[in-house]
C-alpha cells in the first residue's frame, strides 16, 4: 500500500489566478477504503478551491468524528484544520468564526456525526446562520464503526448483513430548510459536474451553506437493497437543474421563464446560473423548495442541485453586529476601553 503520492504532476496542469495548480490544494494520500464516495467529495473541494483561487491559508477545515470527518487530512493540506469531538464540529466552527471571521470555513461531517450525536449542534448552527460551508458526507451508515444504520438510512433499506432498517430517515435537506438555513443543496459524490459549482457557490454564500452529499460507503453500504449505493443513487437521482457558478460577473437582472433558466445574484456580485429548471420550483422560495423535496420523496427520487438560497438574511456576525475587523486582529488598544470608560460602565450597573 502506498502512503505517499508521487510528487510529479502533469507538466501541463492548468494554473489558477494565484499561479497555483491543483497540487497546492491537495492533502495527503487518503487512507479511506478504495472507492469511498468521501474521497470524491474531497477531490471536488480541491477542485472548487483551486478554481476559486482561494489562498489556502485563508481556509479552515473543521470536522467531527467518522470516515467523513477524517477527510480534511486528504484535502487542502496547506490550510488550517481542527478535528474535533464527535458531533461537536459546529461549536468549534462557531468559536473559530467568532475569533476570525475572515476565513473560509469548511465544516465536514457525516450523517452519524450530524444526524445522531451532533444533531443538537447542527440545528443551532443552522439557526444562527453561521457563515460557513457545512458538508455532510451522507452514506446512511456509521462507516468508521463498521456500517451500523445511521439516522439517514431510509426505511426499508437493506444493510450489508441483510437486515432491513425499520426506522424513518431524517431528511437533512428538508430539516435545514425548515430551520432556516440560507443555502441548501443536495448532491452526489459521483457527480462532480454538479458538486464542484455547488461548493463554489456555497463558498460565496454569506451565511450557512448546507450541502447534503450522498456518498456511498463501498465497504458497508454499497450492497443491493441499500438506498445509498452507487447503483441505487444513480438510478434514482433527479436534478433540480444543471448549474454553473459565475464569479465576478457584472450583475444581470434575474429574469427567467419557469422551466428554462435563471441567474441568482449572490451578495458579492457573483452569480449562480441555473439551467433546465424543474417547473413549479423557485430556488428562492422556501415553500416551493420544501414541496419539491416532498414530491421527490413520494416518487422515490433523490432530488439534487441547489434547493434553496436566500442572500438577504444576515449571518451570525451581522446579527450580532460585530466589529468589522476580526477579533483576533484587534490589539489591546482597541480591546481595552481604558480606566475611565470602564469606571463609567461599572457605574452604570450600580
Amino acid at each position: 500500500m502506498s502512503y505517499l503520492k508521487p510528487l510529479f504532476r502533469h507538466p501541463k496542469l492548468p494554473k489558477n489566478k494565484l499561479g497555483y495548480t491543483l497540487k497546492e490544494y491537495e492533502g495527503s494520500l487518503s487512507t479511506l477504503c478504495a472507492g469511498c464516495g468521501h474521497d470524491s467529495i474531497s477531490a471536488a473541494i480541491v477542485q472548487a478551491c483551486f478554481e476559486m483561487s482561494v489562498e489556502p491559508h485563508n481556509v479552515a477545515k473543521i470536522s467531527g468524528i467518522g470516515c467523513s470527518s477524517k477527510t480534511p487530512t486528504y484535502f487542502l493540506g496547506n490550510s488550517h484544520g481542527f478535528n474535533s469531538v464527535h458531533g461537536r464540529m459546529p461549536s468549534v466552527a462557531t468559536g473559530a468564526s467568532m475569533a476570525n471571521k475572515d476565513l473560509v470555513y469548511f465544516g465536514v461531517s457525516g450523517d452519524g456525526d450530524s444526524a445522531s450525536i451532533g444533531m443538537g449542534q447542527l440545528v443551532h448552527v443552522i439557526r444562527r446562520n453561521l457563515n460557513m460551508v457545512y458538508i455532510v458526507m451522507n452514506n446512511g451508515c456509521y462507516g468508521l464503526t463498521k456500517g451500523q444504520d445511521s439516522a439517514t438510512a431510509d426505511q426499508g433499506s437493506k444493510s450489508k448483513a441483510g437486515s432491513i432498517n425499520p426506522f424513518q430517515a431524517i431528511d437533512l435537506a428538508s430539516l435545514a430548510i425548515e430551520l432556516g438555513a440560507s443555502f441548501v443543496a443536495q448532491s452526489f459524490s459521483g457527480d462532480k459536474q454538479q458538486l464542484v459549482p455547488l461548493i463554489k457557490a456555497a463558498m460565496h454564500h454569506k451565511g450557512f451553506a448546507f450541502l447534503n452529499v450522498i456518498s456511498p460507503c463501498v465497504t458497508f453500504n454499497n450492497n443491493p437493497g441499500s438506498t445509498k449505493s452507487y447503483d441505487y443513487v444513480r438510478e434514482h437521482i433527479e436534478a433540480t437543474s444543471t448549474l454553473d457558478f459565475i464569479p465576478e460577473m457584472p450583475e444581470i437582472k434575474a429574469s427567467y421563464e419557469k422551466g428554462k433558466s435563471t441567474k441568482i445574484a449572490m451578495h458579492d456580485g457573483s452569480l449562480i446560473q441555473l439551467n433546465k429548471l424543474e417547473t413549479d420550483w423557485d430556488p428562492e422560495d422556501r415553500i416551493s423548495a420544501v414541496n419539491a423535496l416532498q414530491m421527490a420523496r413520494a416518487k422515490n427520487e433523490i432530488l439534487t442541485g441547489l434547493l434553496y438560497v436566500n442572500s438577504e438574511w444576515k449571518d451570525l456576525h451581522g446579527v450580532l453586529n460585530t466589529y468589522h475587523k476580526p477579533l483576533n486582529r484587534l490589539k489591546e488598544s482597541e480591546l481595552c476601553p481604558g480606566v475611565e470608560n470602564l469606571n463609567a460602565i461599572n457605574a452604570g450597573f450600580r
Binding site: 500500500m1 508521487p6 504532476r9
Partner: protein, 601 residues
C-alpha cells in the same frame, strides 16, 4: 473512439517507451528491476536474449531509448538506461551456461554470412541453435566488424568485445577470418541454402576535389581507415597539430584518439553550428573535456601545402540561415577566410556503402545510389537466396540497429530455408501477468523516486590520455546504480482496465497524480483529447479507451505521463484497474525457451 484493442501486442508495447524506441526492443524496465534486485546475471541474460552485446552496448550504444524515456516527459533527464546495462555486464556471474548449449542437432542446412560485424553475428546466434551449419567470412583478423576496427578501446575494451563475440562463435560457427570475399557469384556457387550479407558501410568519404588534396596526401587520412589502422596497431602516433574534419561520432573518435597518439592541438572543424552537429551530446562533452577545440560554421576551402609538407587548411566562415520550413542553409559571412595550422588532417565526413565484390549480373538489383534493393520487412534482396542486414542493407546506422536487423533477417533466412512465406512472420512472445500480491501490495516497487539522473564517473584525464586502451568511463558503482534504477517508472507494468468491473466511483481519476484518467462521454479522438482533465496534446501517445460503462460514459486514459505508480489500481474498490507486467520479446528465429530466464541465485 472505439474501445482500445489491448489484445494487439503493439498497444502495450508502445506504452513501454524505451523498449518501443529500441530497435531491438530490449525489455528495458525488466532488466532495470533485476539490477535493482542485484540479479545481474538475469539482467544480463534479458539483454543478451534481445540485443546480443550487452557489455558492448552498455558502453557504446547510440541509446535511442533514452530520449524516448517517459522520465523526460515528467521530469527532464531520462533514466541512464544504457549505463545500467553495463552494470549488469560488469557484475554478472556465469552466463555461458544459460545460453543455448551446443552441439546442436544439425538440420542439414548451410548458410554463409559475409562480414563479421554485429549484424552477421546476430544471424549466427539465432540460426546456430536451430542446427544450421553457419559459415562466417570476414577480412579482419577477428570477429566484431566495426565494433573492433572503429570503436576505440578507450570506449570499448577489447576484452569486453572478445567475450561477447566468442559467446557466439563458440556455438560452433565456422569462421574464416582474414578472408575477403571477392565474388558473390563464387559464394552462390557453393551450395549454401542462403547467404547473408553483413559487410557494413566500409568506405569513408573523401574530399578529392579540394585543392591540395593530392599534394598533401601523405598527411591526410580517411577517418575510419585511420581508426582501423590504430585499432590493428599499424598506426601508433600522430603529429602535434591535428585537424579533424566532420561533426559526427567518427570525428569525435578521431579527435579523441589523436589526443592519445601524440596530438596536442587537436581541432575539430565542422560546417554546421555546434548544436546541430551529428555527434551525440555526450561525445561532444567528452571531446571538450579532453581539451579538443570544436570550431563550428567553417567550410573547408583547401589544404595548404608548403615544400611538400602540409601546413594547415583554409576555411570559409558561414552562418546558418533558416527558411520558413526550418530548412537550413549555410551562407558565407563577410569575414575573411580563416587559416588553421595543422600537421595532419583526418577526414571524418561520413561513410558509404560499396559492393565491388557483388557482380551486377546475378539478378541482384541495385538502385541509382548503388545500394542493393532490399525488402524492409524481410531483408531479402531481389536475389531470393541473398539477404542483407546492418549497415550493408540501408546505410550506416549503429550496432543496435545492426542487431535488430540481424534478428529479422535470421527469421527470414529460416522461413526461406523451410520453404515458408517470408511475409507470414511468427508473432512476438508476449506475456501479461498481474502484479497484485495482496489487497494493496504489488510485486514491483511502485514508489516514484524524484532523484535526478546520476552521472557516470570517469577515470582521470591524465591517465586516459596517456594510454589509448585505458577505458574512460568507470561505470556506475553498485550503490549509485541502485539509485539510478529507482528512477525507472516501470512502464512495462501496464494499467489494465476492465470496464465491466468499474462502478464509476471516480477514485482512480481523483487519485491519479498526473491526471491521466477521465470519465467522459465518448467522442471522436480529436474531440476526446481536448475533453480530458488535462488535454492530451502529445499525439505520439495513445489514449486507452474503455468499453461503454453503466452510465454511458467511457474511461479514457492518456498514456502520455502515467507514472505507473499503481495508485489507480490501489484506490479501485473492484479491481477494475490492475497493474500487469507486460513482457514483449521480439520475434526471433530461435526463441529461447525461457526468453527471460527466472534463474535462482
Amino acid at each position: 473512439m472505439k474501445p482500445t484493442n489491448t489484445k494487439n501486442p503493439e498497444y502495450y508495447h508502445k506504452v513501454v517507451d524505451c523498449q518501443y524506441a529500441c530497435p531491438a526492443h530490449t525489455p528495458v524496465p525488466e532488466y532495470i528491476r533485476l539490477i535493482a534486485a542485484e540479479k545481474y546475471t538475469e539482467a544480463y541474460m534479458v539483454n543478451w536474449e534481445s540485443n546480443v552485446f550487452p557489455g558492448v552496448l552498455g558502453r557504446t550504444c547510440d541509446r535511442p531509448c533514452e530520449p524516448a524515456c517517459r522520465r523526460v516527459r515528467v521530469e527532464e533527464e531520462p533514466v541512464a538506461i544504457c549505463r545500467l546495462k553495463r552494470v549488469a555486464a560488469d557484475n554478472k556471474g556465469d552466463v555461458k551456461t544459460l545460453m543455448p548449449q551446443g552441439p546442436f542437432q544439425p538440420n542439414g542446412k548451410k548458410v554463409a554470412l559475409i562480414g563479421g560485424g554485429p549484424a552477421s553475428l546476430t544471424v549466427a546466434r539465432d540460426l546456430a541453435p536451430l542446427g544450421y551449419e553457419v559459415h562466417l567470412f570476414d577480412e579482419q583478423v577477428a570477429g566484431g566488424g566495426m565494433m573492433r576496427s572503429q570503436i576505440p578501446s578507450f570506449r570499448l575494451p577489447e576484452e569486453v568485445l572478445n567475450e561477447e563475440v566468442n559467446y557466439i562463435l563458440d556455438m560452433g560457427i565456422h569462421t574464416q577470418f582474414l578472408t575477403y570475399v571477392k565474388s558473390l557469384k563464387e559464394v552462390l556457387s557453393q551450395k549454401y541454402d542462403a547467404v547473408f550479407v553483413g559487410t557494413g558501410a566500409p568506405k569513408g568519404r573523401d574530399l578529392p576535389k579540394l585543392p591540395g588534396r593530392k599534394e598533401g596526401d601523405k598527411f591526410i587520412h580517411i577517418g575510419i581507415e585511420w581508426l582501423a589502422n590504430v585499432a590493428f596497431e599499424h598506426t601508433k602516433s600522430i603529429s602535434e597539430k591535428v585537424i579533424v574534419l566532420g561533426g559526427g561520432n567518427t570525428a569525435m573518435d578521431c579527435c579523441r584518439t589523436s589526443r592519445r597518439l601524440g596530438g596536442k592541438e587537436v581541432k575539430v572543424v565542422v560546417r554546421s553550428p555546434f548544436d546541430e552537429m551529428k555527434a551525440s551530446p555526450w561525445e561532444k562533452e567528452d571531446a571538450l573535456h579532453e581539451d579538443i577545440q570544436i570550431i563550428d560554421n567553417h567550410v573547408p576551402l583547401s589544404f595548404e601545402v608548403e615544400n611538400g609538407k602540409l601546413i594547415g587548411m583554409k576555411f570559409q566562415k558561414v552562418k546558418p540561415v533558416y527558411d520558413a520550413n526550418g530548412k537550413r542553409q549555410l551562407l558565407p559571412t563577410d569575414e575573411p577566410d580563416v587559416f588553421i595550422e595543422a600537421d595532419e588532417v583526418l577526414i571524418a565526413i561520413g561513410q558509404e556503402n560499396s559492393f565491388p565484390w557483388i557482380e551486377r549480373d546475378l539478378g541482384l538489383e541495385f538502385d541509382q545510389w548503388g545500394m542493393p534493393v532490399v525488402d524492409e520487412l524481410t531483408y531479402q534482396s531481389t536475389h531470393p537466396k541473398v539477404f542483407f542486414g546492418g549497415d550493408a542493407a540501408f546505410g550506416p546506422k549503429n550496432v543496435i540497429t545492426a542487431v535488430a536487423q540481424g534478428h529479422q533477417a535470421a527469421v527470414s533466412l529460416h522461413l526461406f530455408c523451410e520453404g515458408k512465406d517470408l511475409r507470414e512472420r511468427p508473432s512476438p512472445f508476449t506475456n501479461l501477468i498481474s502484479q497484485k500480491m495482496g489487497i494493496h501490495e504489488w510485486s514491483y516497487d511502485n514508489g516514484v523516486a524524484i532523484d535526478q539522473r546520476y552521472a557516470v564517473p570517469q577515470a582521470e584525464k591524465t591517465l586516459t590520455l596517456r594510454d589509448r586502451k585505458k577505458e574512460v568511463e568507470l561505470g556506475f558503482d553498485v550503490p549509485t546504480a541502485f539509485k539510478e534504477t529507482q528512477r525507472c517508472l516501470n512502464c512495462d507494468v501496464q494499467t489494465v482496465f476492465t470496464a465491466e468491473r468499474c462502478i464509476e466511483c471516480d477514485a482512480c481519476m481523483d487519485v491519479c497524480p498526473t491526471s491521466c484518467i477521465t470519465f467522459t462521454a465518448n467522442d471522436e479522438e480529436s474531440e476526446l483529447r481536448q475533453k480530458l482533465l488535462v488535454p492530451a496534446e502529445n499525439l505520439s501517445q495513445d489514449l486507452l479507451v474503455s468499453n461503454e460503462l453503466k452510465t454511458g460514459r467511457v474511461m479514457v486514459k492518456d498514456e502520455d505521463v502515467c507514472l505507473h505508480c499503481g495508485l489507480c489500481a490501489e484506490r479501485c474498490p473492484t479491481s477494475a484497474w490492475d497493474m500487469q507486467k507486460f513482457l514483449y520479446s521480439v520475434t526471433k528465429a530461435y526463441q529461447m525457451p525461457a526468453p527471460l530466464p527466472q534463474i535462482q541465485k
